[in-house]
Symmetry: C2
Subunit: 161 residues, 2 copies
Amino acid sequence: MATAAVAPRPAPRAVRIERVGGLDYDVLDALLGFAIRRAQLAIQGSFTEATRGMDTTPPRFTALVVIGANPGLSQTVLGKVLGIARSGAMQLTDWFEERALVERRKSPNDARAWGLHLTAKGEKITARLKERVFAQEQQWTAHLSPRERSELLRLLAKLTG
Amino acid sequence: MATAAVAPRPAPRAVRIERVGGLDYDVLDALLGFAIRRAQLAIQGSFTEATRGMDTTPPRFTALVVIGANPGLSQTVLGKVLGIARSGAMQLTDWFEERALVERRKSPNDARAWGLHLTAKGEKITARLKERVFAQEQQWTAHLSPRERSELLRLLAKLTG
DNA sequence: TATTGTTATACTCTATAACTATA
DNA sequence: TATAGTTATAGAGTATAACAATA
């Protein structure tokens, strides 16, 4: 499908919300929602730094991992995993296919659906991404003891059911 | 500035990432980044439900609270609190001013800058939003014991430094 | 009828860059 | 020179709605 080389977009700047000194944050400091939002922006910044030059984003990473672990996945299910509409999952799949990371194959069970599969190149890149993302988590959670880290993971899982 | 009544946009659907049954999430389950992303989407969904009809979003809520607690705040500082560019803080301020929630007043110290202030209407709406958001947090964190909730808050704060 | 993938379209949020007026 | 606000423009990400093929 790719008719021309696609120029990788410039790396997005790492968003870092700094706490503004001398400012009254009022109720925000007591709200879990705000704390999670801050954490999300911070980790997204770390992710961007850790994967710089690899032209990826958190949803792309998630998609590659899930397709890798579930070969033959449909686009509809991919959308559900990511929490986006089918049309978005399709565009994402197009993006991967243009770069030869993912392949669409006819589903054996359902003639309407595609089954998604990583290509050899996709496997390699996914493996490299996993390494980087793990290293980044290591670094990002360096402030926490292993016990705190797993407790945080447990509490977040409990929260989202 | 408002020349015509502004139609409130339709309430955005509450995004809810459901865990897809029978799917292998591979390394994602061990990554704090993914857990936080899930939590962020979930709480954003709850926020949307809790404030339905009030035409707000998490950044808007944050802005109103911070302006309320720090009268005379400049747009530049507002942008820093939210982690967005100055131009974005300006558009947000325009949006508030069109709805008569926030007022720009000349800063006494710096003729270049505006000082932002809540109007009486803005105060009232901010107070109502705080109530709803608190009630939502209460409900959202019902799975957690008070100890777990404060531990989660502590760990997130430690994480983002 | 319902669902999969697709196309077309639109909108929100945010960024960057250049401009102005002050500092 | 640097900074606050502004303007213009652009892009990513995602949504909705309608359609064809298949279930």
